[in-house]
């Protein structure tokens, strides 16, 4: 199998995370500190038919609290990964590589759950 091309260090840092606009964000009254993100699930091809037959769920909900919520709220489609890393490092007294490791891990999680996409360095969300 062909290995996925790796992004170099600089391109990774200049990439811009952008929120998925179709995600429904809400805050419950009983949990004011938590941000609930609801992602609509899309099934294609045979999976669409199977989902209909098995009454598969149509959405998934994620709860973001504490630092996870703060970082998610910072994602505005303009801030680069580097800015997120530097902000986290300054706020939490982390080293650059510690903050980079945590931010990369978190962004990967958000991406896998369909909450954000990452645009390559230099790209603009509208373009």
């Amino acid at each position: 199998m062909k290995a996925k091309p790796q992004l170099d260090f600089e391109t990774q840092l200049q990439a811009i995370p952008v929120r998925n606009e179709s995600v429904n964000m809400t805050t419950d009254d009983d949990k004011p500190d938590a941000l609930t993100a609801e992602v609509r699930l899309k099934y294609r091809g045979v999976m669409k038919l199977l989902a209909k037959l098995t009454y598969a769920r149509e959405s998934r909900r994620f709860e973001l609290t504490g630092l996870a919520r703060e970082i998610f709220e910072r994602i505005d489609g303009k801030l680069t990964v580097e800015r997120l890393v530097l902000t986290l490092a300054a706020d939490e007294k982390l080293t650059f590589f510690e903050a980079r490791g945590l931010i990369n891990h978190y962004l990967r999680d958000l991406m896998q759950r369909g909450l954000i996409v990452i645009l390559g360095g230099g790209a603009h969300p509208e373009s």
Partner: protein
């Protein structure tokens, strides 16, 4: 930042971060970087014979030219050298790497620094201060420093394991007599303590490491909130292992709010041994 590992101690600029590391005493290396890229590589290797410093440097440049500039002349004759403290430093042109070699006779170890991108200014302002800061780590209490942890342990303790994750560092030391000392350092305390206090966090971590907590005491240690756990662990040697006897242990957690870090020092040892005092392990 003080880097103290096995047989050496260096003072490094604060923004130098170790991005690769080895735990082995006979051979290993550290690689350092910051936001701008690679800054240097420190490697060590056991050697019974005194090495020929000039030959090491010349051979390095010959290989370097072979790999990067095969079209250029390969003579290493134009290497310039300078003695900086214990280190024999060799360099050629600006933009090429600079190498520094030293031999520590008592442990029989060759130390080699490789700095990328030589310039006279960098040599004088960054690399020479690092080389001049070298101290042999040969006391009866050996210093250990790296990844934000600074401690010292009796010389007989050896580094058994190290796990360095972002904001989660764990170093494990062990004596031949099975006395074990683990040092932990976590970042993001406000996340770790968001839904629990320090005693609850300490209990959670201890539970995961398989020790039995006998007593918990909260106190102030060096002006910081601290939790002391009296623990016991199943013996792992000799008759204690055979009869599943428990070994006593002690764990201290403390929250350094200035650094925004939580530390833990976990100790277990066979019954007849005395545990170390944290004041000795973490000198102020």
């Amino acid at each position: 930042m003080k880097l103290a590992w096995h047989e050496f101690i260096f003072d490094l600029p604060d923004d130098w971060e170790a991005t690769r590391y080895s735990i082995g005493a006979p051979v290993g290396r550290f690689e350092f970087a910051n936001r701008s890229g690679g800054l240097g590589r420190l490697s060590w290797e056991k050697s019974k014979r005194i090495p020929d410093d000039h030959r090491i440097v010349a051979e390095y440049y010959r290989h370097y030219m072979d790999r990067h500039h095969p079209e250029r002349e390969k003579s290493a004759g134009r290497i310039q050298t300078v003695q900086t403290g214990r280190f024999y430093v060799g360099y050629r042109h600006e933009g090429e790497p600079c190498q520094a070699v030293a031999y520590l006779e008592k442990p029989g170890i060759i130390l080699m620094w490789l700095f990328p991108d030589y310039s006279p200014r960098r040599l004088a302002e960054v690399w020479q201060p690092i080389l001049n800061s070298f101290e042999p780590n040969d006391g009866s209490w050996r210093a250990w420093g790296g990844f934000g942890v600074q401690c010292r342990l009796p010389r007989e303790f050896e580094l058994e394991q190290a796990q360095v994750l972002p904001a989660d560092v764990w170093l494990e030391f062990q004596h031949k007599n099975m006395h074990r000392v683990d040092i932990h350092r976590w970042g993001l305390p406000r996340e770790l303590l968001a839904t629990r206090d320090l005693p609850a966090f300490a209990a959670y971590i201890s539970k995961g490491s398989g020790v039995r907590v006998l007593a918990t005491r909260t106190e102030t240690w060096r002006g910081m909130v601290s939790v002391v756990l009296t623990t016991e662990t199943r013996g792992t040697r000799g008759m204690d292992r055979l009869f599943s006897s428990y070994w006593p242990g002690k764990t201290r957690f403390w929250h350094n709010t200035d650094e925004k870090r939580i530390y833990a020092c976990v100790q277990t040892a066979p019954k007849k041994l005395d545990l170390l005092r944290e004041e000795e392990v973490f000198p102020e």
